[in-house]
C-alpha cells in the first residue's frame, strides 16, 4: 500500500491535528486584535452551523437566521441588564426564547414552497428589527443598550482576551459536535434524502414536516447561541445586530464554507470575518475588494471550500471505506393464514381539473399475492399507485390497509405502517451511499438521537445491518458502498427495491420496475418478486404490457381511461377483447 493509501486510511484525523497545531501557533502571536476576530468568528461560526440545519440539510432557504442571532443577542443582554442574570442563566434562556419563536413561525410558514418561505422568514426578520428599533423603552431603540457585561458565570467574571475567546470556542465545539452527530446519524441521512427526493423520503416513512421543523428549530437555537455570545463579547447591543446585512453575511459564510460541512461552517465564518480586515489596506475600496474576493471564491469553489477539499480528497484517496456491518438474517414475514385482502381500494375516484383520472376503481391484494396493473398510457396506472401510497388524496372512495382505513393518512404514515413503494426513476440521494439510502427506511430516527456521544449510534448500526441484508436480497450487495450519484439507472432501481423491502413491509407497490431492462434482467427481476411474494408480502406491479406480467402475476387488472375494464388471471386478461382493443385496437398481445 502506498503512502497515499496509508494517508487515506488515517482519514481526516491528520487535517484536524494540523488545524489544531495551526491554531496553537497562531495563539502564541495573537494579540487583542487577533483574539477579538477569533471570538467574533466563533460567534458567527455557531450561527452558520445552525443555519446549515435548515439551509443545508433540510434545503430550505430561510432568511431569518440573522434575526435569531439578533434575538439571542438582545435577549441575553436584556436579561443581564434588566434582570441581573448571569450568563449561565441568560444563555439558555435566550436560546429557549428563540426556539419558541421558531416553533411558532415554523408551524405557520414551513409548509410554504421555497421562495415564499424565504420571503416569509424575511418578513419576520424585518418585523423583529422594527420592533427592536421602535420599542425604545425596552430595547433602547436605535441607540441600543451600552455596558452589557462580559461573560459572568455565578460571580466569576470571565476575563477578556483568551478566557473569553476559549469560552466562545468551547460553545462552538459543542455545537460542532451536535452538528456532526446530526450529519452522521440516521436522522441526518433521512434529512438528506428528504432534501434530494422528498417523495422517496415520504415513501421511506420520513415525516417531512417534523424534520423540517426540527431543522428550523435547531437553526434558531444555534443562531441565538451565537448572538448571545456575540453581545457579551461586544459589550453593547444595538439594532445593527438585527439588520439584513447579518443575514447576508451568514448566508455567504455558509455557501463559501460549504453548506453541509461542519468544518466548512467554521472555515467560512473565520474567512469572512477576516477578509474585510485583510483588505483594509485598500482603504476606501476595502469592501469593494471584499466583494470581488467573494465573487472569486464562489466561482472557484461553488460547492464551498469544504466541498472543493472533499472533491479533491475523493479524487486522490478514493471514497471512504464503509464501516463493517454484521448481516442480520431476513426475518420471514408472518404470512397471514387466511385469504383476506391486505390492501383494498373501494370505489376510488379522483379528478384533476375536471378530468377524471380514476373513476370508481375497486380492487384488492392478498398477502403473498402479486397483482399486476396494466393499461395504456394515461389510463391511470400511476394515479392508482399515488393514491394507494398516499401522494394523492382521493376525491371519493376508501383505502383499507391491514384492517384499517388509511384514506386520510399521509404517505409517510402509511409507509411506517408497512406500505412500501418504489419510483420509476430510482429516487436516491446522490451524496449518500447505497447502503445509507436503504438504511434510512430501516429504522425510526428521532431528533433526540443527535444528542448523544459520537460513535455510539446503535440505531444506525442496526439500520445499516438490516439494509445490508436487504441489498443482498435485492441482488445489489456489491453496490453497498457506492454513492447514489455514481450508480447507473438499473442499479438505482435495485437499490430502491432494497429500500422498499428493508422495513419489512406488508405490501410493496412497484412503478414500472421492468422498464428499460434486458430480457435477462427481467427474468431475474421476476425471480426476486416471486421471492418477495413468497414471504407473504403483497406485491402490486404496474407495468405497460403483458409480456412481463404474464408469467409473474397471480391476478391482473386492466385500466383504460380511468376505469377498470377487466380483472382476472393473466391468461383470462390476455384473452379479453376489451383489453386488446384498449391497447392495440385488436391486435393480439403475446
Amino acid at each position: 500500500m502506498s503512502a497515499r493509501g496509508a494517508l487515506a486510511a488515517l482519514g481526516a484525523a491528520p487535517l484536524w491535528l494540523l488545524a489544531a497545531a495551526g491554531v496553537a501557533a497562531y495563539g502564541t502571536v495573537a494579540g487583542n486584535y487577533e483574539l477579538r476576530l477569533l471570538a467574533i468568528g466563533g460567534c458567527y461560526a455557531l450561527a452558520v452551523l445552525g443555519y446549515q440545519f435548515i439551509f443545508g440539510r433540510v434545503g430550505a432557504l430561510s432568511l431569518a437566521q440573522g434575526a435569531f442571532f439578533g434575538l439571542g443577542a438582545y435577549a441575553s443582554a436584556l436579561m443581564a441588564l434588566k434582570l441581573g442574570w448571569d450568563f449561565a442563566r441568560s444563555f439558555p434562556a435566550a436560546i429557549a426564547l428563540s426556539v419558541i419563536l421558531a416553533a411558532v413561525v415554523g408551524g405557520t410558514v414551513l409548509r410554504l414552497a421555497s421562495h415564499y418561505f424565504a420571503l416569509a422568514t424575511l418578513a419576520v426578520a424585518e418585523l423583529l428589527h422594527i420592533l427592536a428599533v421602535d420599542w425604545v423603552s425596552l430595547t433602547g431603540g436605535g441607540n441600543g443598550l451600552p455596558s452589557v457585561p462580559g461573560f459572568v458565570v455565578a460571580h466569576w467574571i470571565v476575563p477578556g482576551g483568551w478566557p473569553a475567546t476559549l469560552l466562545v470556542w468551547g460553545c462552538v465545539a459543542l455545537g460542532a459536535l451536535i452538528a456532526t452527530n446530526f450529519s452522521a446519524s440516521l436522522y441526518g441521512d433521512g434529512a438528506r434524502l428528504l432534501r434530494a427526493e422528498p417523495l422517496a423520503a415520504a415513501a421511506a416513512g420520513i415525516d417531512a414536516d417534523a424534520r423540517r421543523m426540527a431543522g428550523f428549530v435547531l437553526s434558531a437555537a444555534f443562531g441565538a447561541a451565537g448572538g448571545a455570545l456575540y453581545v457579551h463579547t461586544l459589550g453593547v447591543v444595538s439594532p445593527e445586530a438585527l439588520q439584513f446585512d447579518v443575514m447576508v453575511l451568514i448566508l455567504c459564510m455558509a455557501v463559501i464554507g460549504g453548506r453541509n460541512s461542519v468544518a466548512g461552517a467554521i472555515l467560512g465564518a473565520l474567512l469572512l470575518v477576516h477578509l474585510p480586515e485583510w483588505f483594509r489596506a485598500f482603504e476606501g475600496w476595502a469592501l469593494f475588494a471584499y466583494g470581488a474576493g467573494l465573487l472569486l471564491v464562489v466561482i472557484a469553489a461553488p460547492e464551498g471550500i469544504a466541498g472543493a477539499v472533499a472533491a479533491l480528497w475523493r479524487r486522490w484517496f478514493g471514497p471512504p471505506p464503509l464501516p463493517a456491518v454484521p448481516k442480520t438474517a431476513p426475518t420471514a414475514a408472518s404470512g397471514r393464514p387466511d385469504d383476506r385482502a391486505i390492501l383494498a381500494a373501494r370505489a376510488l375516484g379522483i379528478a384533476f381539473g375536471g378530468n377524471e383520472a380514476l373513476a370508481g376503481a375497486t380492487f384488492f391484494v392478498r398477502p403473498g399475492e402479486i397483482l399486476g396493473v396494466i393499461g395504456p398510457n394515461g389510463s391511470g396506472k400511476t394515479t392508482v399507485l399515488n393514491l394507494l401510497s398516499g401522494f394523492y388524496r382521493p376525491d371519493r372512495g376508501r383505502i383499507l390497509f391491514d384492517g384499517r382505513d388509511v384514506t386520510a393518512l399521509p404517505a409517510w404514515r402509511r409507509a411506517q405502517l408497512g406500505l412500501a413503494r418504489s419510483f420509476q426513476h430510482g429516487a436516491l440521494a446522490a451524496d449518500l451511499t447505497a447502503l445509507d439510502n436503504v438504511a434510512v427506511a430501516a429504522g425510526r430516527a428521532r431528533i433526540a438521537d443527535v444528542l448523544r456521544m459520537p460513535g455510539r449510534d446503535r440505531k444506525r448500526r442496526r439500520a445499516r445491518a438490516r439494509a445490508s441484508a436487504a441489498l443482498d436480497a435485492a441482488g445489489a450487495a456489491d453496490l453497498a458502498g457506492k454513492r447514489g450519484a455514481d450508480l447507473t439507472a438499473s442499479e438505482r432501481r435495485r437499490v430502491e427495491m432494497a429500500r422498499a423491502l428493508v422495513a419489512e413491509p406488508k405490501v410493496i407497490l412497484l412503478d414500472e420496475p421492468a422498464a428499460g431492462l434486458s430480457d435477462a434482467e427481467k427474468g431475474s427481476l421476476r425471480t426476486v418478486l416471486r421471492g418477495i411474494a413468497a414471504r407473504g408480502i403483497g406485491v402490486v406491479v404496474v407495468d405497460h404490457g403483458m409480456p412481463f406480467l404474464l408469467p409473474l402475476a397471480h391476478r391482473v387488472i386492466c385500466l383504460d381511461a380511468g376505469r377498470i375494464i377487466a380483472a382476472g388471471s393473466p391468461s383470462e386478461i390476455a384473452a379479453e377483447p376489451e383489453v386488446r382493443r384498449a391497447y392495440l385496437g385488436g391486435v393480439p398481445v403475446a
Partner: protein, 383 residues
C-alpha cells in the same frame, strides 16, 4: 483542479499585497470613522477634517510629522471595535508604544462600544458624536468636540419658541439612534419652554414618499415643523413639503446645514428653512473659518461641514498637547482650548463644546446665513 490552483495562487498574491504595511517611522494618530454604511457621509467629512488637521500640523511644524491611520468603522459597533484593536495592535507593533490619542466614529453606538476599550488602554478618545449618553457614563477618557444633543437641541427648541414664537410643534424624527436621541432632548426642551408637541412621527431612512407624513402634519394644526433627520430624509421632507405647499417654517437638525443636503434642493424650496449646527464653515464669513473652508475645498474638492470642522478642531487640540509630558487626557481636561468653530473647555464630564448656531436659508441661494448664535443655550435659566 487547474482553476483551483489558479485561485490559490491569486489569493496568495492578493494576501501578500494587503499584508504590506506602511512607512514605520512616523508616530500615528488613529482616525476611526465610518467610511461605509449608514453614516458614511458624516464619517467621510470627519475623516477629511482630521486628515487636514494632521497635514496642517505637518506644514506648520516642519520638524515633526504625525501620520494619520484611517480605519473604517463601518457604521456598526463590531467593525468599530475591530478597528480600534487593529489600530492599537499595529501602532504598538510599529512604534513600540500605544497611540497617544485617537479619533472615534461619529455614530453613538460605536462610540459606546469603544468607551470601555479607551478605559482599558487609558487613551484619550476624541468624539464628534452628539449622543448625550456618551458623557453620562463617567468615562474620563472621552472628549467630545461637538456640542451634544443637550446643547444643540436646546438651541433648536429655543429658536423655535423664543425667536419664531411658535408653540405647536410637529416633530418628525428618524427612527435611528440620532433621531431618537434628538427626539428625547427636543421633547424635554419643548416642555421646559411651554410649547407642546402636537404631532410626532418616527421615520425610517428607507421611506422616501412623504406625502402621508406631510398631510398628517397639516391635519395636526401645528405651526412649525421641527426635524431631526439625516441628510436624505431632510431633503426629501423639505422638497416634498414645499411642493405640497405646506407653508410652515421648518427648523431642522444639523443635516440641513450640510452643503451636500442643500445641493439636493432648489433655493425656492429652502426658503424659510433653518437648521441648528455647531458651525457652518462653508457659510461663515469670519476670516479663520473662511480660510479653513478655502483650504478644505482645495484639498477635498467638496464643501466642508460642521463635522469636518469639529474633527479638525479636535485633532488640532490633541496635537497642541501631543508633546506634553502628561497624558493627553489629562492635558485636554486642564484648561480652555481655542478652536475655529468655538472655544472648547471641559465641563468635567468630557463635553468640550457648548455653543451652537442657527443658520437659515432665505431663498436666494443654497448657502445659508447665520441667523443666531447661542452660547451655552442649555444653561440658560428657565424663561
Amino acid at each position: 483542479m487547474n482553476r483551483f490552483a489558479r485561485f490559490v495562487v491569486g489569493g496568495a498574491a492578493l494576501f501578500a499585497l494587503t499584508a504590506s504595511g506602511r512607512a514605520m517611522e512616523l508616530p500615528a494618530f488613529p482616525v476611526l470613522v465610518p467610511l461605509t454604511g449608514a453614516l458614511a457621509l458624516e464619517g467621510q467629512s470627519q475623516r477629511n477634517g482630521a486628515v487636514l488637521a494632521l497635514e496642517d500640523f505637518a506644514r506648520q511644524r516642519k520638524d515633526s510629522r504625525i501620520r494619520d491611520e484611517v480605519l473604517d468603522t463601518g457604521s456598526n459597533p463590531q467593525t468599530a471595535v475591530q478597528a480600534f484593536e487593529r489600530a492599537f495592535g499595529r501602532v504598538r507593533a510599529m512604534e513600540g508604544a500605544k497611540p497617544r490619542a485617537l479619533m472615534g466614529p461619529i455614530d453613538g453606538n460605536s462610540m459606546l462600544a469603544l468607551l470601555p476599550l479607551a478605559e482599558r488602554e487609558q487613551v484619550a478618545l476624541l468624539a464628534v458624536s452628539g449622543t448625550a449618553r456618551l458623557t453620562e457614563l463617567g468615562n474620563k477618557y472621552i472628549f467630545r468636540f461637538f456640542p451634544s444633543d443637550v446643547v444643540v437641541k436646546a438651541a433648536q427648541a429655543r429658536y423655535i419658541v423664543e425667536t419664531l414664537g411658535r408653540r405647536k410643534i410637529a416633530l418628525v424624527h428618524q427612527n435611528t439612534a440620532y433621531g431618537q436621541s434628538g427626539n428625547e432632548e427636543l421633547t424635554r426642551w419643548f416642555e421646559r419652554l411651554g410649547a407642546s408637541v402636537v404631532y410626532r412621527n418616527s421615520l425610517p431612512v428607507t421611506t422616501k414618499e412623504l406625502a402621508g407624513v406631510i398631510a398628517q402634519v397639516r391635519d395636526s394644526g401645528a405651526d412649525v415643523v421641527a426635524l431631526q433627520l439625516h441628510s436624505g430624509s431632510s431633503a426629501l421632507f423639505v422638497g416634498q413639503a414645499a411642493r405640497a405647499g405646506l407653508n410652515l417654517p421648518i427648523v431642522a437638525g444639523s443635516a440641513l446645514h450640510q452643503p451636500s443636503t442643500a445641493a439636493l434642493l432648489e433655493p425656492s424650496e429652502l426658503k424659510g428653512v433653518c437648521a441648528e449646527t455647531a458651525s457652518a464653515p462653508a457659510a461663515d464669513d469670519r476670516p479663520a473659518l473662511a480660510e479653513f473652508a478655502r483650504r478644505y475645498r482645495e484639498r477635498f474638492k467638496s464643501e466642508p461641514d460642521a463635522f469636518a470642522l469639529a474633527a479638525y478642531d479636535a485633532v488640532r487640540a490633541a496635537l497642541s498637547v501631543w508633546f506634553d509630558a502628561k497624558p493627553i487626557h489629562i492635558s485636554l481636561a486642564a484648561g480652555p482650548i481655542p478652536g475655529l468653530a468655538m472655544p472648547y473647555a471641559t465641563d468635567g464630564k468630557g463635553n468640550m463644546a457648548h455653543d451652537a448656531i442657527i443658520v437659515c436659508y432665505d431663498g436666494s441661494g443654497r448657502t445659508p446665513r447665520i441667523a443666531k448664535r447661542y452660547s451655552r443655550p442649555h444653561e440658560a435659566a428657565r424663561p
